[in-house]
Every structure is written in structure tokens, then in C-alpha cells.
């Protein structure tokens, strides 16, 4: 590719959201000089600038910040450390040889990178993916897109809303749209329990008298050109609609908050192994993927619920990338972790023993007063009691080096008693 602008670089950080920013800052602090953040929006901060509600930063900054304020702290640091970044720039492809091809109004660039940190974030599940029957009118929006339009672009998506999915995004947007004068007629949730945090049920639904229809889903969208109504139905234990329970709700907007999917198209182009359950890369405890020198963090690795943990994870990735680039990475033997009973997934997938370690996991069902145990075969290595566990809340467990000394395997389970 002779006419294409190309150069060598130590580190490319793909994505300038909370993960990318924190990773770049950490890599710079660890000594990487030649790095670049590539961001496809025309702003830094990723999803945060549109998350105008508060609740961010409780862990790292010990105060409750709004999304934009949290992002600004990292943006200020990036600027202070003079970390180069490009906005309106999208990585089109990453080769297995770590060539990063970037398209931007300034030109097409190829960076021959020593290390790459994948921080692309995630996308929303769409109507098409859950195959909601009915017409295909205007007025069907995923909650994140509606949030962008309402909070960043100054467009009001509708007046009479039905929300499908009681995850935090759906709840936050219920409140947001209600405050802006719309009426949210119902939030339907297919599970028998809400998927968002209880405090959001209080401050987004109960506060505004919005009915929450558990074990319900949208079974039809009506309206030839613009949404005119949705039909919601109750579902059984197998999530199949129960005949005769259909309820037609006239509305002009359907908001979908039906799940987030880690974005990994680029991971595929460079041959990074992906895990089917998380949708993200298979990683070691230093967040290196199956390709040497490529690291992953943030929502592209696993969908997070607390941005503070994204930043901490990204910091780790930045450190590891720096280690790699500066030739300090040591070859280490690792064992594979396993998600046992009641655990949906555990990260990282490969760990080194005899070193302090943090495990991240999600459970399959909600529970109260449960023990989560870490096992080496039949032997219990550690257990911890949790007052409340919920699939919507990521769980962290720390293990000391001494606790993983010479273990042959590591399996995490929810204990029966």
C-alpha cells in the first residue's frame, strides 16, 4: 500500500470512551511515549456525554458525577499528558500482524503497531435480532439511540412511549423522557424480575407511576408509517407468549432496552479468540488476548454496569500494554478458569498462579444470602457471602497470591447452601 500514509507506532488505543481514555493514560504513565487514541465519534468520552444522569464515579472519585463530568476528568488528563488522539476516525481493520487501518477525513492511515488496546465498547441489541413481529414504522428506537438523539442532538423521539426491557438504560430513558414531557405508558420486562438496579426502579418508575409489567414482552408493533400501538403479552416460564393475554397499548414510540453486545468486528479481523458467553475476547489476567500484544478492556471485553470498574480494568490493560511494549512482559504458565454452577461467566479466562488476582463474574439468577465459592477441583479455595446477587450486577472477587498457590484449576460456583 504505497500511497497510504503509514508509520510505526508503539500503541494504538481503539476507542476514546472511558476504557480507551483510562487505558491510554495508564500506558502513558507507565512510559509509553508513542501512542494514539482513535475515536470514531467527533467527541471523546464515548457513551458518557449522553449519560447526563448521575451515579458515576462513586468508587474512584468518591462522589456522584454525571456521565459528562466523569468523562471530562479523563479527557482533562489525556490533554494534560499530551496524549495524541484523532476523532471522526474509525479503525476499519486490524490485521493479525497488528497493522491498524484508520479512515479519517484527514486521510487513510496504516499504523504498524507494537501493541493495540481494544476498547470499542458495545452496541445495542436490535428489534430485528429478537424478531418482534409486526410492521416496520418510524418510532422504534433502541434506548441508547434515543438517548443520543434527545440528550446530544436535541430531537424528541416521541410523546407516548412504551419501553421494552427494564435494564438500567430503559429505566433511565423512561425517567428522562417523562421529565421532558412524554408519557411512558409501561415498561415491559420478559423476565419475572426487573433487570435494572432497584434504585432505578424507584427513581425512574415508582417516582413517576410508570407501570412495570414483569413477565411480559412486546408481541407486535402496529402502525404502517409511524408506531400507532404495541401489543404486549404475558409470557410463561419458557418466555413464550401466553395466548389470550395480549394487551394493545396505543403509543407513538417503542423504546428497546433489550441488551448490549460487545463490539468485536475488529477483534475478528485480527484473529483474536472470542468467548461465546461474554461476546468479548478471551483474555489472561493481564487482559492480553490470544494475540500477543493485543489487549482488551471495557465493554468490548465484557459488558459492565459501573463505569468505575471500566476505568480500573482499562488501567490494567494500559499497564500490561506498556509492559509488553517495553519488553518487560514475562512468559508465565497459566491455567484456565471455569464458570460453574450458577455462574454465567468468569473473567479472566486464563490466570497465573501465585499472584494477586481479581475475578469478575456474573451469576445466572438473582439470589439473597448466597455464597460464591472458588474451587480447585473439589477443594474449596475461598468463599464469600453476598447479601444480594443479581445477573445485572457484576461481581468482583479478589484472590491473594497465596490462595492460588499451585492450584491445578479454578472454578467458580454459587454454593447450594
Amino acid at each position: 500500500m504505497r500511497d497510504v500514509l503509514s508509520r510505526n507506532i508503539d500503541l494504538i488505543v481503539v476507542g476514546g470512551g472511558p476504557a480507551g481514555l483510562a487505558a491510554a493514560i495508564s500506558a502513558r504513565k507507565e512510559g509509553i511515549k508513542d501512542l494514539l487514541i482513535v475515536e470514531r465519534n467527533n467527541w471523546l468520552g464515548g457513551i458518557l456525554p449522553q449519560c447526563i444522569h448521575d451515579g458515576f464515579g462513586l468508587i474512584i472519585f468518591k462522589e456522584t458525577l454525571t456521565g459528562p463530568e466523569y468523562a471530562q476528568k479523563y479527557i482533562d488528563e489525556v490533554k494534560k499528558l499530551e496524549i495524541p488522539y484523532m476523532v471522526d476516525s474509525m479503525v476499519l481493520e486490524i490485521t493479525p500482524e497488528k497493522d491498524v487501518i484508520v479512515s479519517s477525513p484527514k486521510g487513510l492511515f496504516v499504523f504498524h503497531a507494537k501493541a493495540i488496546i481494544l476498547a470499542m465498547g458495545c452496541r445495542e441489541r436490535t428489534r430485528g435480532q429478537i424478531r418482534i413481529p409486526g410492521s416496520r414504522p418510524a418510532g422504534v428506537y433502541t434506548a441508547g439511540v434515543a438517548q443520543n438523539l434527545v440528550n446530544l442532538k436535541n430531537f424528541m423521539v416521541g410523546k407516548n412511549i412504551v419501553v421494552l426491557g427494564s435494564g438500567d438504560i430503559g429505566l433511565i430513558m423512561t425517567r428522562r423522557l417523562t421529565l421532558e414531557g412524554a408519557k411512558v405508558h409501561a415498561v415491559a420486562e420478559i423476565l419475572p424480575y426487573p433487570s435494572g438496579l432497584p434504585r432505578n426502579i424507584q427513581q425512574c418508575l415508582i417516582d413517576y407511576d410508570v407501570p412495570l409489567l414483569l413477565s411480559h414482552t412486546v408481541t407486535e408493533i402496529q402502525g404502517q408509517n409511524r408506531v400507532e400501538a404495541v401489543v404486549v403479552s404475558q409470557v410463561d416460564e419458557n418466555f413464550k407468549p401466553i395466548e389470550g393475554t395480549q394487551q394493545r397499548i396505543p403509543c407513538d414510540t417503542l423504546l428497546l432496552s433489550i441488551g448490549l453486545i460487545p463490539e468485536n468486528e475488529l477483534s475478528k479481523t485480527c484473529g483474536v479468540d472470542l468467548n461465546q458467553i461474554t461476546g468479548g475476547a478471551v483474555v489472561k489476567e493481564n487482559l492480553e488476548t490470544s494475540v500477543q500484544g493485543i489487549f482488551a478492556c471495557g465493554n468490548t471485553l465484557q459488558v459492565h454496569d459501573v463505569v468505575d470498574y471500566v476505568s480500573l480494568e482499562a488501567e490494567k490493560a494500559g499497564k500490561s500494554a506498556a509492559e509488553y511494549v517495553l519488553g518487560k512482559q514475562r512468559k508465565v504458565k497459566r491455567i484456565q478458569t471455569e464458570a460453574g454452577n450458577g455462574i454465567r461467566y468468569v473473567l479472566p479466562h486464563f490466570i497465573r498462579r501465585n499472584a494477586d488476582l481479581e475475578l469478575f463474574m456474573r451469576v445466572t439468577c438473582p439470589g439473597k444470602d448466597k455464597y460464591i465459592g472458588v474451587f480447585d477441583g473439589r477443594k474449596l479455595v475461598k468463599r464469600r457471602k453476598f447479601r444480594k446477587i443479581h445477573p445485572a450486577e457484576m461481581i468482583k472477587m479478589r484472590l491473594k497470591g497465596s490462595e492460588t498457590k499451585n492450584i491445578k484449576g479454578l472454578r467458580v460456583e454459587v454454593l447450594e447452601k
Binding site: 500511497d3 471522526d88 428489534r127 430485528g128 424478531r131 413481529p133 430531537f155 423521539v157
Partner: protein, 476 residues
């Protein structure tokens, strides 16, 4: 599609030609909601218009797609037999095809079929090498835009509400005013019977028949090499679902076939979605239904009543002097479209003296598809025009320049759909998650559109109710 093919064909002559369309863009009906297949002519009765025009049309496609700069691939088709009885059906199909002039049809063994389509189990297959795929909407839009550049006036949002025979022709009354026409070609598809009856031609009855489809993620494209069709089923309740690769790299499952009451009913239904999924998995066990990214449907204009066994032929006739009806143009409508257009022009030529233009330009506007351009060329495109460097659709890698070019179409269509069908923005796995806010911003900043003017597909499909503060401001 047929209307746009006709417009282009007529634009080769010294005639004042006008194309009227009731929707907000061309190609809004079933022309965009079909399999995009170039048929070989396997299924049609020898001597029928369908058989003749399908074969003729297919042969015209090679040159036509080159002129119009539209991609077309001969990906081939395997009709697979899964029972011994079905092997006999393959032989029957081959014979019909050969009698219709289709060449290259071969029945292949189970082993060879497995080699060709490793993910499909069969006892044997009928292989048709010349079956092809094309983008039905890119093709239709290209036909219309070339017709327009050759002098055809395209009137959108123009619905015909009455036609009266007058001296020397017809007065066509529309929602945007009256036209006087010497010749009227009725290619109104789903509404062709109603248009015909406006001039007293009452013998036609159309039976709308909906076909639902599922679209699979491009990741699934590799599961089949060409089209995979089961033997047409003889039992009721079985769709005989086709697996069709698309020219852009997705896979289509479908269509279903269901007679419906309301012609506009392009809903997708729980029932059909399930049937499509089940039959697809039956044909191709390694299909993951997690790969479904979209479901859509189109409504066929059938003249064959439900229950009638043999499909009726196309009706292309001048039922009234100067009034040519095209009724029941369903499959193989796409393949036949260039030949249909030629036939209709021939019909007009026979009765009137029409002169060929010397300056007809068959070459359509060259469209750049950044995603399909080699990297060096991409680089020079961006250097010449920075709008090529900004990605609007991240799933399909559609650039800002392509979006602007789409919005600058000669018909003035500035809807999300106008962008979608010209550029593919919004057709990827995130289905507008990234590109919609960007396209909206382009409509606002580059075209000065107000919030209420932004629509999905026509003036009745607004995206917004206004600005964020509108419901709260005084006087709201």
C-alpha cells in the same frame, strides 16, 4: 422495478415520458422486498410469457448491470432432493428448464452436492450454474436515475386518483395535478387492477400474497456457496423455504407465501418467522438463528387465485388503445424486467411512429462503494474529498460522501430509507444504532431540515415530534 425499466426503455425514444409514483421514492414496494434473484426459467410453462421473458431478460442483464454500474453475481443454485421421490422431481425440473432454453442444468450426486454445499445434507441436487443475484433496489434506483438523466421526469408523492379517456389520449388526475398522456403504461404493481378499472377495464383481480423473509448477519454468508432451494413442496403447510445469498454478503431465508386481505399489510408475523426458522434449520442445520438481524416482507401481485393449482401467466396487453396493462408481474418479474420493458416498447412501436434518440446515454451514474474499494483507491478518495474519510455507517463502512450523494438523488428524496437503499447505511447488524443519529445530523446541518421534516420513508413517517424541549415549553 418494472416501471423504472419501462421509463428507461422509453427514454431511448423521442417521447416525453413521465414516471409517477405515489410513494416518497422509487422502489418502495415489493421491488425492494424480494430475493434479488436472476432466475433461469426452470419453473415456467413452455411458451408462456414468463418463460420467454425470463430467459430473454436474464440474457440482457449482463450488459445492463455493467451500464448501470450495479453488481450482479452468478452464484449458481442447487435445488436439493431429500427423498428418492424428490430426485425424480429434479429430473422433471431439469426437463422443463431445458425445454425453456436453460443451459447447463445438471443433476449431481449426493457426494458432489456435499462437496459443493458442505453444510447441506441431500441425496442429490439439480445444479443451475447461471442463476444469479443482484440488489433489487440498487437495480431499480439505477434504472430510474438513468431514465431521469435521459429526460424522464419522475414525480414522487404523486398518486393517480382517476384516469379518463379523452380525445387523443387520457387525462390522468393525480394528487399533484393532471397530466395529459397519449399513452399510459399501467405498471402499478399491487394496484394495477385498480388503475385499470379507472378506465373501465374491470376484468382484473389481484390477490395480494405476502412473502416474509429473515436476513442473516454477514458472518453466516460462508455457510452456503450459492442459492440452496428445496424441491418445491407438494404438501400444504410447507413453505419450501429458500436460502439465498445476497450480493452484499448476507443470507436471506424465505420467502413465505400467504394470501392477505389488506394489500399494504407488510407486517412480519410470529407464525411465519417460526416456520422460516424451522425450515431453514432443517435445510441447513448449522444455521444459528442468533444470526438473524432483520425480518421484512413484500407483497406479491398475484393474478392466480388462491387454490388454483397452476400459476397464471403475466398479462401484458393493450386492453384499450394507448393503454397498456401489466398485471400480475410477480416472480420472475425481476429477471424479466428488461425484457418486459422491451416488449412494451415494441407494442407501442407497432402502432405508432416513435423515433430512437441519438443521444441516449445508457451509462448510469458511477457510484463509489467505499467498502468495496481497494485501500490505495480509498486513500486517494479521502485525499480528494475528506467526506470519504468520515464513516457514517460503521457496520457497512458507508462514508459521509456516499450518504450525501444518496441525499442528492435527482428525485429529491431525503428520507432515511432513501439513504438506506442507496448506500446500505442502516442495513448492518446494528441496524441504524450508529448511523441514524449521524444521518439525522447531516439532514439538519447540510440540508437545514427541521426536526418535523425528517422522515423514515414518507411524509407519514416522521422520526421525531420536534425538539427536546418542545413538550415542556410554554404553549406546548
Amino acid at each position: 422495478m418494472v416501471g423504472c425499466a419501462l421509463a428507461r426503455e422509453f427514454s431511448k425514444f423521442e417521447l416525453k415520458t413521465v414516471l409517477v409514483e405515489k410513494e416518497g421514492d422509487v422502489c418502495c414496494g415489493v421491488s425492494k422486498a424480494n430475493s434479488g434473484v436472476l432466475h433461469t426459467g426452470l419453473y415456467y410453462k413452455k411458451g408462456s410469457l414468463k418463460a420467454r421473458l425470463c430467459v430473454e431478460g436474464r440474457l440482457m442483464f449482463k450488459k445492463l448491470v455493467k451500464e448501470l454500474d450495479v453488481s450482479c453475481t452468478l452464484c449458481g443454485k442447487h435445488v436439493v432432493a431429500r427423498t428418492e421421490e424428490e430426485i425424480k422431481d429434479l429430473e422433471r425440473l431439469r426437463d422443463v428448464g431445458e425445454a425453456n432454453g436453460v443451459r447447463g442444468l445438471t443433476i449431481i450426486s449426493r457426494d458432489l452436492a456435499k462437496k459443493r454445499e458442505p453444510n447441506v445434507d441431500s441425496l442429490g441436487a439439480l445444479y443451475s450454474p447461471v442463476a444469479g443475484i443482484v440488489s433489487p433496489y440498487l437495480f431499480t434506483i439505477a434504472l430510474a436515475e438513468n431514465a431521469s438523466s435521459n429526460g424522464v421526469n419522475v414525480y414522487l408523492n404523486t398518486k393517480v386518483v382517476g384516469i379518463k379517456q379523452v380525445n387523443e389520449g387520457f387525462r390522468v388526475t393525480t394528487t399533484q395535478g393532471d397530466f395529459h398522456a397519449d399513452i399510459v403504461i399501467n405498471s402499478a404493481g399491487l394496484y394495477a387492477d385498480r388503475i385499470a378499472s379507472m378506465v373501465g377495464i374491470d376484468q382484473y383481480q389481484l390477490y395480494p400474497c405476502r412473502g416474509e423473509y429473515l436476513v442473516l448477519d454477514k458472518d453466516s454468508r460462508g455457510l452456503i456457496s450459492g442459492m440452496v432451494y428445496p424441491v418445491p413442496p407438494k404438501v400444504a403447510g410447507v413453505l419450501g423455504v429458500h436460502l439465498t445469498p445476497t450480493i452484499d454478503g448476507n443470507m436471506l431465508i424465505g420467502p413465505s407465501a400467504e394470501f392477505i386481505d389488506v394489500r399494504e399489510d407488510t407486517r412480519t408475523t410470529e407464525e411465519k418467522i417460526l416456520e422460516l426458522m424451522t425450515e431453514a434449520k432443517d435445510l441447513l442445520p448449522s444455521i444459528s438463528l442468533k444470526a438473524v438481524i432483520y425480518a421484512f416482507s413484500g407483497v406479491r401481485s398475484k393474478i392466480t387465485p388462491p387454490g388454483e393449482k397452476e400459476a397464471r401467466d403475466f398479462i401484458i396487453q393493450e386492453d384499450l388503445a394507448g393503454f397498456i396493462n401489466l398485471i400480475g408481474i410477480e416472480s420472475p418479474g425481476l429477471t424479466s424486467s428488461p425484457a418486459i420493458a422491451k416488449l412494451v416498447v415494441q407494442m407501442v412501436k407497432e402502432k405508432r411512429d416513435i423515433r430512437q434518440k441519438k443521444d441516449f446515454n445508457p451509462i448510469g451514474r458511477k457510484t463509489v462503494r467505499f467498502h468495496e474499494t481497494p485501500r490505495e483507491k480509498q486513500s486517494s478518495l479521502v485525499n480528494e474529498d475528506p467526506a470519504y474519510g468520515e464513516m457514517v455507517c460503521r457496520c457497512e463502512h458507508v462514508t459521509k460522501r456516499e450518504v450525501l450523494d444518496a441525499l442528492n438523488n435527482p428525485f429529491g428524496a431525503k428520507t432515511i430509507a432513501a439513504v438506506k437503499y442507496r448506500t446500505r447505511a442502516g442495513m448492518g447488524r446494528c441496524h441504524g444504532g450508529f448511523c441514524l443519529p449521524k444521518i439525522v445530523e447531516i439532514l439538519e446541518k447540510e440540508y437545514g431540515m427541521a426536526a418535523e421534516e425528517m422522515t423514515l420513508k414518507n411524509t407519514d413517517s416522521p422520526l421525531f415530534i420536534g425538539r427536546t424541549k418542545d413538550l415542556r415549553k410554554k404553549g406546548a
